[in-house]
């Protein structure tokens, strides 16, 4: 069986919510969500920051300054928009690719870089930020996000929703199924966002499942769903905002949980260790590149007279400055080998303390250099 050319059938635009056309003009049937100029500009600034962060991170990886990185170019629009649709008290469950989503919901840029430099400190969540560490084992966040939402509902904290990101590939895992099924049964305030970027590493969407759409899978759980143009930040914002509202205050006959299928495209490689030219054609991205979310929002804002060249410049230089600061901070991180033994349990068991002491002794005896030998 030859794979159908991936993404082709995702190019019918009539089955999904969109607000901006490819060139950033407002679609005739659509209404722009109720956002102030400041909000729109801030969203745009976040998009520019995300795009530049992504490019910078890829080059840092090339220089060996960070480890494997999962790029998000083409997907930042959706990421930024989903986080914008959250209230501060809502929680976010991100994947390894959701850098922009994390940042917009409160994580420092430098924290994003910490784990990439090998320090778990970046996963520590500041007290006033509601962002879980990124999930690497695919789909495992889904039952957890559902559980947290359930817990808030049980505690009558009905002003809280939980937003959970995952990819198209994740829909094949058992945890997707179990999580969505619980969400339907217990009617919990959770918003599932499936970032369908058409690829799970080298596996195209068509090979992932024979169902027509990913959104349609929600029916199996009595969960409502919507498909949205994931390269249109305004459409994603609108759909997510509606889902968050519904999670907190469902109307009559409405359920709290929603599955949003945000239709996107992975412009680049799966990660910096991946070479997509091995498994997909160069031409494929063209359709999507023509709908680049950053350009689209910029065109819209320019058309609306909100974005001037001056503002654009300021936005870009602020972004670059922040990224440089973040890199500096991240590169200043250090970790004590004692840290290996900390926080495994609330109280460190004796055996583990003894192991820490052993390592201390060895370091004293042989010096830290002895540990930096290449193992292989």
């Amino acid at each position: 069986m030859m794979h159908a050319q991936s993404g082709i059938y995702e190019q019918d635009e009539h089955d999904r919510l969109r607000i901006l056309d490819a060139d950033g003009t407002v679609h005739p049937d659509a209404t722009v969500p109720d956002l102030s100029e400041e909000e729109l500009l801030a969203m745009y600034e976040a998009l520019v920051l995300a795009r530049r962060f992504d490019q910078r991170a890829i080059s840092l990886q090339r220089q060996g300054r960070i480890a494997t990185y999962a790029p998000m170019t083409g997907q930042e629009g959706s990421q930024v928009a989903t986080s914008y649709a959250l209230d501060e008290q809502d929680w976010l469950f991100p994947t390894y690719r959701d850098h922009a989503a994390k940042h917009v919901h409160g994580m420092e840029l430098s924290s994003l870089l910490g784990p990439l430099r090998g320090y778990r400190q970046g996963y520590a969540i500041p007290d006033d930020v509601n962002v879980m560490p990124e999930y690497i084992p695919i789909a495992t966040q889904i039952p957890q996000a559902m559980g947290m939402a359930w817990g808030y509902k049980l505690q009558d904290q009905t002003d809280r929703a939980v937003l959970c990101h995952f990819g198209d590939g994740a829909t094949s895992e058992g945890d997707f199924h179990e999580g969505l099924n619980f969400a339907g049964v217990f009617d919990v305030p959770v918003v599932f966002v499936c970032n369908n970027n058409q690829w799970a590493i080298s596996t195209p969407r068509e090979r992932q499942t024979a169902s027509d759409t990913l959104a349609g899978k929600a029916d199996a759980y009595g969960v409502e769903s919507i498909r949205v143009d994931g390269l249109d930040p305004l459409a994603v914002y609108q759909a997510t905002r509606a889902a968050v509202r519904k999670a907190k205050e469902p109307g009559p006959g409405e359920g709290r949980p929603t599955l949003i299928e945000s239709i996107q495209y992975r412009f680049g490689a799966h990660t910096t260790s991946d070479d997509p030219s091995v498994y997909r054609s160069e031409e494929e991205p063209a359709y999507y590149r023509d709908r680049d979310p950053v350009d689209r929002l910029r065109n819209f804002l320019e058309n609306e007279g909100i974005l001037t060249d001056e503002r654009q410049e300021a936005i870009e230089s602020r972004a670059d400055q922040r990224i440089e600061n973040a890199i500096e901070e991240a590169e200043a991180l250090e970790a004590d080998p004692d840290d290996i033994f900390e926080h495994v349990y609330s109280e460190t068991p004796d055996r583990l303390t003894a192991q820490r002491d052993d390592l201390r002794e060895l370091r004293e005896k042989y010096g830290d250099e002895a540990f930096s030998e290449v193992l292989e």
Binding site: Q121, Q144, G147, Q155, E178, L352
Partner: protein, 355 residues
């Protein structure tokens, strides 16, 4: 606001590590004669009454009261927001428990039999065990996963599993198993109050084997501490759960032959109480370990390996592992041959003595 939520709102400090202030009823010393499974039910009841954050989820734990009646009548008392029948999905149960704990609840999940835990194994070892460490200590997961384990009840395949070693090898999980009704309630209470995820393994063979006095008030038995069930000078027998009783019986019979066994019930399998283990061994110089799980890679290996590491100079004989064989526990016609019986325990101890 539901009345449940109201009381919760009073009690819940988001992500607070401190146990909530407990109603301290007149310190009463009234006791009941309970079986082990009744003591578990009583422990759940006491803790749910005192801490509104405690809730339970699992398959058939509600109206049905659990397939072993471990949650008997709790649904009627606490309602279906707190005693929740879930869909049939173990990864869902454990994944949900993680999320519930993160939201400020104190979930107690039930897995119907240890043999049905595996669909949820990933949530345990990839996340429950690691969220504290991953977040540099910033998140904690006060959750308990209860499950009956072990053989001997003439059950179908997959109903007699004893794979505690899987959990012990995973850093970040605590693992406990009681061998008496008193301990069952005390360890369960401590497990529920503990800020870390605790696997609470229930030796179902002795769910109803005997009764013991169990205080009505709540009390904790510290996690991480073994109990010396019988003092002795000739050999140390290390065991846990349902194997404690046959080990004690073997010890009594051997006493008549002049072999004086010390029987140590580990209770806490992770972290292990190595101090008690080593102290006992240094006293006796000989050791035997009794467990149901297959010998190879079982927890007995860890105990023997540690003893020779730390107390080789005291060692007078090979430490004998009296364990399940390296085959799956057979269907019930042969299970008595598979599990360490008193006869096998005695024989093993005699062998260790004769060396």
């Amino acid at each position: 606001m539901s009345s449940y939520a109201e009381t919760l709102a009073e009690n819940v400090e988001e992500q607070s590590e401190e146990p909530t202030q407990r109603e301290t009823p007149e310190e009463s010393d009234s006791v009941d004669e309970l079986t082990l499974v009744e003591a578990i039910c009583d422990g759940l009841h006491t803790e749910m009454s005192q801490d509104e954050r405690v809730m339970m989820l699992g398959e058939d734990i509600g109206r049905n009261g659990g397939v072993f009646r471990a949650t008997d009548a709790l649904y009627e008392e606490f309602g279906d927001d707190r005693v929740v029948d879930t869909p049939l999905a173990e990864s869902g149960i454990i994944g949900a428990s993680i999320g519930l704990a993160l939201s400020g609840m104190r979930p107690v999940g039930e897995i119907q039999f240890m043999g049905f835990l595996y669909p949820g194994f990933d949530q345990l070892v990839s996340h429950a065990s690691r969220l504290r460490s991953r977040t540099h200590g910033q998140l904690n997961l006060p959750m308990v996963v209860r499950m009956p384990y072990g053989g001997g009840i003439r059950a179908p395949e997959h109903h007699s599993e004893s794979k505690e070693a899987f959990f012990v090898h995973e850093p970040g999980l605590k693992v406990v198993t009681p061998s008496t009704p008193y301990d069952a309630k005390g360890l369960l209470t401590a497990a529920i109050r503990d800020p870390d995820p605790v696997m609470f393994l229930e030796p179902k063979l002795i769910y109803r084997a005997f009764r013991e006095e169990v205080p009505e008030r709540s009390y904790e038995i510290d996690l991480g501490e073994a109990a010396v069930r019988r003092e002795g000078t000739d050999i140390s027998v290390f065991t846990w759960g349902a194997m404690t009783r046959p080990s004690l019986i073997a010890a009594e019979e051997l006493a008549e032959e002049g072999i004086d066994c010390e029987v140590v019930d580990l209770r806490s399998l992770s972290p292990l109480d190595f101090d008690t283990i080593i102290d006992s061994f240094e006293k006796t110089g000989r050791g035997a370990i009794v467990h149901e799980a297959p010998k190879t890679g079982g927890l007995g290996a860890e105990i023997a390996a540690t003893i020779q590491e730390e107390a080789l100079m005291y060692q007078e004989a090979p430490i004998k592992r009296i364990a399940g064989y390296d085959a799956h526990i057979p269907l019930h016609a042969l299970e008595d041959y598979y599990l360490p019986q008193a006869v096998r325990i005695q024989d093993g101890i005699r062998e260790a003595m004769a060396f």
